[in-house]
């Protein structure tokens, strides 16, 4: 595990989705395949955390349906059914290449992680090179804050704060969230950040956004900051997955392999080797 013990802070990856993936787009694997492509290994170990939903069977089954036949080693961790597991949480979390967090109640998600000490394990995993991914509550949790409907009406909520800024999700799919988020950014309750439509994922490399990708044509993202009490909104360019030269490569595995090679090259050159 020595090679995983430390990773250049500028190369740590977090992929935050405004919505989408296997729980929301069962017929559209583009975002989930992109998640797999982020790992540096041919057959990544991917752990699903359905905590925010209360570990519902439907989320776990959707995860299995998506990843069982793909080039990866999938498993899930349920904090409500730990009795079935003989491994410690640390042994389960710290061996993964990818950790994928589902949506649901962000308040419960953070409370349960803290109750079990999972929050610090996840930070440790990220620092040692595990890709952290997730949608909705599972995306906002990595930032300083977001907008949750954990108690019904939308309200601001603090996240783990691994990444600076705030995030709001389902910007198109749940229109009541966005105005709440904008108001909280304007009044300074939340720091400036990103609003993501369903189907859009923002990839953070180190602590900065690297690229935005989408599984749906027309889905968008914006960066919003409050400057002297006024909101400054800037559109973020979003690449539509499944189109362009990569999609023309033919077989999926070849496409993924190609993508990984590109990633490795990029990383190599950015380190100046």
């Amino acid at each position: 595990m020595n090679e995983r013990s430390i990773v250049d802070p500028r190369e740590r990856l977090i992929f935050a989705m405004g919505g989408g993936g296997f729980t929301m787009e069962p017929a559209n694997p583009l975002l989930d395949d992109f998640v797999l492509s982020l790992a540096d290994t041919r057959e990544p170990r991917i752990l699903f955390l359905p905590t925010a939903s209360g570990d519902t069977t439907s989320q776990i089954n959707a995860f299995k349906a998506r990843f069982a036949e793909r080039a990866c080693i999938p498993e899930h961790l349920s904090l409500f059914h730990l009795r079935d597991s003989t491994r410690s949480l640390a042994d389960t979390v710290l061996i993964q290449d990818i950790i994928y967090v589902g949506g649901g109640s962000m308040r419960n998600l953070l409370a349960l992680w803290r109750a079990h000490g999972l929050d610090s394990l996840l930070v440790q995993a990220w620092q040692s090179g595990t890709v952290l991914a997730g949608l909705s509550a599972g995306a906002m949790c990595w930032l300083q804050g977001g907008v949750t409907r954990s108690s019904g009406p939308p309200e601001a909520i603090a996240g783990l704060g691994i990444l600076e800024g705030s995030l709001t999700v389902h910007a198109d799919g749940e229109p009541e969230r966005l105005p709440m988020w904008l108001a909280r950014v304007r009044d300074g309750t939340l720091p400036g950040g990103w609003a993501l439509d369903d189907g859009v994922g923002l990839l953070f490399r180190g602590e900065h956004p690297d690229r935005a990708v989408s599984s749906r044509p027309g889905a968008g993202a914006q960066r919003v900051d409050a400057i002297e009490g006024e909101l400054v909104r800037k559109r973020v360019d979003v690449e539509l997955l499944g189109e362009g030269p990569r999609a023309a490569l033919g077989g999926f595995d070849e496409a993924v392999e190609e993508l990984r090679r590109v990633h490795r090259m990029r990383r190599g050159s950015s380190r100046g080797r």
Binding site: G54, T56, L82, R83, S88, G152
Partner: protein
Amino acid sequence: MPNRAPQIVALGGGGFSMEKDGSLLDDYVLSLTGACRFGNASEAGVSPSGRPRVCFLPTASGDADHYVVRFYRRFSPDCDASHVSLFRRDQGTGGVEDDLASHLLAQDLIYVGGGNVLSMLGAWRAHGLDAILRRAWRRGIVLCGPSAGSLCWFEQALSAFHGAPRVVRGLGFLPYSNCVHYDAEPARRAEYHRFVADGMRAGFAVEDGVALHFRGTQLERAVSSRPDGRAFLVEPCQQGVRETRLEVTHLGSEMPDVDAYAGLERAKREAVPA
């Protein structure tokens, strides 16, 4: 408000979720709400229908649907039954859509389901349920539950849900420790003894099918749905720990007689050091 004493019924295991004929322990718990059923019906906390208001908290199971269904199957024929899901509040399917506090404080009985006590306490604290339940308890709303639904009321709980057993800080309404499913796993007793000998506070070990009924913080009575159900007081002493078997009333053969059981104090007086 009627002057009702705080009451907790802590099940070592059993009730509708675990026993096929789990109605005995549940019936016992329901009987404790009788004072409100026949009290002043205009008071808050009494259903206009005269039926006990019972709310289920399935948090420890992750609000598992099958558990919620079994609760309604058991309680909705005789009670005004409801449940609170802390995971579905955004979808309006949390069982209760209005203010959590006002709903819970209007109950006669709050029934807490089993599962993972750490997860449950974490979620409760995040939603402020710990403070609401303390108010409910002080108001005399009966609190009960098996397993995690027992452990949570105590100051310290022995949780063996996952991996090595550990001490979990509960809500602390009852100033004791608690160990449930005392007969279910061979190692459980030795672990509890070890923890109490090492400084965990004195408390109660309870087998499946047995329930401890506390009035205020005093043990009022131990009851069982099984003829051979046992419960113990476990205290530290110079030799390590002292385990004292409590008198348990079998609900299947007789209804409990309040005078026949003098509770914890008598058990302590009669205790013979091991």
